[in-house]
Symmetry: C2
Subunit: 117 residues, 2 copies
Amino acid sequence: MKEKCERVNAGQIGGMLKKVPETESITRMAAVFQALQSDTRLKILFLLRQKEMCVCELEQALDVTQSAISHSLRTLRQLDLVRVRREGKFTIYYIADAHVRMLIEMCLEHVEEKHEH
Amino acid sequence: MKEKCERVNAGQIGGMLKKVPETESITRMAAVFQALQSDTRLKILFLLRQKEMCVCELEQALDVTQSAISHSLRTLRQLDLVRVRREGKFTIYYIADAHVRMLIEMCLEHVEEKHEH
DNA sequence: TGAATATATGAACAACTGTTCATATATTAA
DNA sequence: TTAATATATGAACAGTTGTTCATATATTCA
């Protein structure tokens, strides 16, 4: 650690660093936000927020290939942002939990608020 | 639109699509999540959550160059996730608003919950 | 069984991102 | 003024991502 700026209080900063989540959590969070960073995946979540859906329904709703949707769903699934249920030959996807709903709603509020004036 | 899967109800899907935020909002959200997807920027936010800080303090706390921090801060600033205030020769950064705090807290809860069992 | 439908996966490529290095600008103090 | 400190910016490169295409697997129904 270099001691440069007069505002720096090394002890205080040390204390603050302890309150930053551990690297593993940060990396996991980065992965979650990274999954939420694609237009396609966001649209999928805003659809699933209204009703659980199978892949073909999503395919009908979105303007990308079935392959792209499937890849997107896998990403969301791996981070437990959506969950799956088999129903005969259909695979039904749905939003995992309230956190996920909150995340996209908070973010939507944030971006819409900024453009109202 | 192709009409394939027997579960698809084109009318219903049309109605659901209307409730998906408009493309501009989605794109803006994607940009916000994209900004939150980097370890460095997340650490910055978890530090700023505790106390507003100048760039050198962040430099002291994080293990990246001043340039990298400055670039990261610009990204966060452009999306109104953090705001700036000049104080003499220092530039003080702070979390923009409650939405941002919520976003990182929701995500942290999500990832920590998943690893407790 | 076999054909049809539904979904998943791997490869490949263009596009994008984060970092560092080098340098520019802004502010203060001398 | 000039020197020192604080911050910002542009270029460039390695690494990562999202999509499509081609193909594989799984389930149902005849």
